[in-house]
C-alpha cells in the first residue's frame, strides 16, 4: 500500500474504522477533536453508529452500553474530559467488558492548556477511577505507531475483556506524518457468551453489572481481574530499544518524550557517548523486567518525561537502586528539545551522578535554578 500524509488524530480515527469499530461516542475537546469530526462523517457513511454525546459522562456511558451489547466501541478525549470519564471507566472495568479509550493528553492540572503533555500517566497507569482494577495502556510515539496501536488495542481489549487506553499527546494528535494503513477489516459481530444483546429465543437471560454486594464475591472479582492481569504482564509487554547493543547509559522515555530523547541519543552517539534508548510501548503492563535487566549492565539511567516524574517511580521500582537513575521533565505543556535531553545525557555520562540523591528532588533544584 502507498504511504499517505495523515494527521495523527484523523489517522487514529481511520485506524479504528479499519479495526472494525462499530460505534463511536465522543465529545469535543482540544487537542483530539479531529477524531470526533472525522468519525462524524466516516461512521455514518459506513452505516455504523456515531453519537456526539452531551458530555464525556454521556459518551463513556454510551460506550458502556454498546460494549455490553458486544460490539467494538471506542471513545476519545483529552485530559479534563478523561477525568470526567473515570466513573464510567471504573464501571466498565468492574463489568469486565472490552472498551478502547484514547487520551490525547494536554497540559494540566485543571483546565490547563491545549499543549502536549504526559501529565496523565499516573491517572492512566496507576489510578483514575475508583476501586481496584488493572488496565492496558499503550503509548505511541509516531502517527504510524498510533495507527498500529489503535488496531492492536481492540484485539487486546477483547482478548482480556479489559479497558484498553491509548495515551497520546497533542504532538501525536496534531502532527502530520506519512503512514501506511492496514487493510480494512470487516465488522465482525462476535457471538460473545457474555453480551447482553437480547435472548432472541436462544438462551437464558444475561446480566452485566459491576455490583457485588457480598464483599467476598467482590474480592473474587478483584482476584479474577488480577489473574487476567498476570497473563497480560506475562504476554503483552512491548517496548522498543535503540542503540542498546553496547550502551553504557540508557535513556527511558515513552511517547513524544521518548521520540525527542531518540534525537538526543543519536546526537550523543555522534559524539561517541555510548548511550541507548528504551521506549516503553506498553506503559501498562510496564516493561519492568527489561529495565531490571538493563540495571545489571549499564552505569546509569535517565528518565525523560513531559511531567514531573510519574513513570520515573516505575523505573526506580524496577531498578531497585542498582544504578543511579536521573530525571529530566518538562511540565504544563512544554515539550523538551533534543538539546535539553542531550545536556542531561552529558551530565549523566560525566560520571558525577549517584544513586544517593532522589532524582526528582535533584531535578527540581535544577529547574528552580534555571528559572
Amino acid at each position: 500500500m502507498t504511504r499517505e500524509l495523515w494527521e495523527g488524530n484523523q489517522a487514529i480515527a481511520e485506524a479504528a474504522v479499519r479495526a472494525g469499530l462499530e460505534a463511536y461516542f465522543g465529545y469535543p475537546i482540544t487537542p483530539q477533536t479531529e477524531i470526533l469530526e472525522y468519525l462524524s462523517r466516516r461512521m455514518p457513511e459506513l452505516g455504523r453508529a456515531f453519537v456526539q454525546a452531551e458530555s464525556e459522562l454521556g459518551a463513556i456511558n454510551m460506550v458502556y452500553g454498546a460494549a455490553c451489547a458486544g460490539v467494538r466501541v471506542m471513545s476519545t478525549s483529552s485530559s479534563p474530559g478523561v477525568s470526567l470519564m473515570m466513573e464510567g471507566i471504573s464501571y466498565i472495568a468492574g463489568t469486565e467488558i472490552p472498551m478502547v479509550l484514547v487520551n490525547v493528553m494536554r497540559g494540566g492540572p485543571g483546565l490547563g492548556n491545549i499543549a502536549p503533555s504526559q501529565g496523565d500517566y499516573n491517572q492512566a497507569v496507576h489510578g483514575g477511577g475508583h476501586g481496584d482494577y488493572p488496565r492496558i495502556v499503550l503509548a505511541p510515539a509516531s502517527v504510524q505507531e498510533a495507527v498500529d496501536l489503535t488496531m492492536l488495542s481492540f484485539d487486546l481489549a477483547e482478548k482480556y475483556r479489559m479497558v484498553t487506553m491509548i495515551i497520546a499527546d497533542g504532538c501525536i494528535g496534531q502532527m502530520m506524518e506519512p503512514i501506511q494503513f492496514p487493510e480494512m477489516k470487516p465488522v465482525v459481530r462476535k457471538d460473545w457468551d457474555w453480551a447482553t444483546n437480547g435472548k432472541m429465543g436462544k438462551r437464558e437471560r444475561r446480566l452485566l453489572t459491576s455490583i457485588y454486594l457480598d464483599p467476598y464475591e467482590e474480592e473474587k472479582t478483584n482476584l479474577r481481574l488480577l489473574e487476567r492481569w498476570k497473563q497480560i504482564q506475562a504476554n503483552e509487554v512491548r517496548y522498543k530499544e535503540y542503540f542498546m547493543e553496547d550502551a553504557e547509559y540508557v535513556v527511558i522515555g515513552f511517547g513524544t518524550a521518548g521520540r525527542v530523547s531518540l534525537s538526543a541519543v543519536r546526537a550523543a552517539r555522534q559524539e561517541g557517548i555510548k548511550v541507548g534508548l528504551l521506549r516503553p510501548v506498553t506503559v501498562s503492563p510496564f516493561p519492568s523486567g527489561a529495565i531490571e535487566d538493563l540495571a545489571k549492565r549499564v552505569s546509569g539511567m535517565l528518565v525523560v518525561e513531559m511531567n514531573s516524574g510519574q513513570m520515573l517511580e516505575d523505573v526506580r521500582l524496577a531498578v531497585k537502586g542498582r544504578v543511579p537513575v536521573e530525571f529530566y521533565g518538562r511540565m504544563g505543556g512544554v515539550v523538551p528539545f533534543p538539546d535539553e535531553v542531550l545536556g542531561e545525557i552529558h551530565r549523566m555520562a560525566s560520571g558525577k551522578i549517584t544513586a544517593d540523591i532522589n532524582p526528582r528532588d535533584a531535578w527540581y533544584e535544577r529547574m528552580v535554578a534555571m528559572k
Partner: protein, 257 residues
C-alpha cells in the same frame, strides 16, 4: 410444579423471574415492575428486550425481569440505553429510574436522550425522595416536606423548588410520548399500564423518546403506613405533579392499544 387451579385469575407474568422482590411493604415499585413485565409479555418482546437498571432502590430490578439487563452508574441509564439501542436498533431497550437517579444526578443524560429522540422507553419512578440511601431530599421533594436532609421541611428559599420532569422533557421535539400517571389506586394503575404499553409501542414504531412518570409511594421513608402513603400520593403529590399527557406526538396519537 404447583397445579393450576380452575379458578385462577392472577399469576406471575412470564416477564418475571421467580425471585421475590426486596422492596419494602407498601412500596409501589412492585406494581410498576409488574406492569412493565405484563406489557413486555403482551407485546411478545421479552426475548429482544434489554433493560437498564439504575442506582437507587431499583438497583436490583435486573433480578426480577426475565430479560437481559445491564446495571448503569447513577443517573447514566439513558446514556447506556443510547449505546445499546444505537448498535441494536431492532431490540427493545428501556431504563427504569428513580427521581434521584433521573431528575438529580442524571438530569443531563435524560434531557439529551429525549432531545436526540432516542428510541428508548423510560420508566420514571417519582416518590419524592432518595429511597435507597434512607430518605434524603430529592429534586421532587414537595415544598415543606420533611426528609433526612431537609429535617425542617424543604425550604424553597434555600433548597429550591421541585422539578416537574415530564413537563420539562415534553418541551423537547425529540420526545414522542411523555406522560405522568400514578400508582395510588386500581383505576390509576390501569391507566399507568396503558401508558406503559403506549410508551413501548412508541419505541417499536421508531417514534422517538418515550417516558412514563409514575407517582409512587415510599412508606418507609415517609413514615406513613402503606394506606396513608397511597393517600399522600393521590392528594399531595398529584396536586404538585398533575397527572396527564404532556407530549403525544402526532405519530403516537395514531397508535391504538
Amino acid at each position: 410444579m404447583v397445579p393450576t387451579p380452575n379458578n385462577l385469575v392472577y399469576e406471575r407474568p412470564e416477564g418475571f423471574t421467580d425471585a421475590p422482590t426486596h422492596y419494602c411493604p407498601g412500596c409501589t415499585h412492585g406494581i410498576a415492575h409488574r406492569l412493565v413485565a405484563e406489557v413486555l409479555e403482551e407485546m411478545g418482546v421479552l426475548d429482544k428486550t434489554i433493560g437498564v437498571a439504575p442506582v437507587g432502590c431499583a438497583v436490583f430490578a435486573y433480578n426480577y425481569f426475565d430479560t437481559d439487563f445491564v446495571e448503569a452508574p447513577h443517573g447514566r441509564a439513558p446514556a447506556m440505553a443510547t449505546g445499546i439501542k444505537r448498535v441494536l436498533p431492532d431490540r427493545v431497550v428501556f431504563t427504569y429510574q428513580g427521581d434521584g437517579d433521573l431528575a438529580s444526578i442524571g438530569m443531563g443524560e435524560i434531557v439529551h436522550a429525549a432531545a436526540r429522540g432516542e428510541n428508548i422507553t423510560v420508566i420514571f419512578i417519582n416518590n419524592a425522595n432518595f429511597g435507597m440511601t434512607g430518605g434524603q431530599m430529592a429534586p421532587t421533594t414537595l415544598p415543606g416536606m420533611k426528609t433526612t436532609s431537609s429535617p425542617n421541611g424543604r425550604d424553597v428559599e434555600t433548597q429550591g423548588y421541585p422539578i416537574r420532569t415530564s413537563e420539562l422533557l415534553a418541551t423537547l421535539d425529540g420526545a414522542g410520548y411523555v406522560v405522568r400517571r400514578s400508582l395510588h389506586d386500581p383505576k390509576n394503575i390501569r391507566m399507568a399500564k396503558k401508558a406503559i404499553r403506549l410508551a413501548f409501542e412508541t419505541q417499536v414504531r421508531g417514534l422517538g423518546f418515550s417516558m412514563v412518570e409514575l407517582l409512587s409511594t415510599c412508606p418507609t421513608n415517609w413514615n406513613l403506613t402503606p394506606v396513608e402513603s397511597l393517600k399522600f400520593v393521590g392528594d399531595k403529590m398529584a396536586a404538585y405533579f398533575p397527572l396527564g399527557d404532556y407530549k403525544i406526538s402526532s405519530g403516537v396519537a395514531q397508535i391504538k392499544v
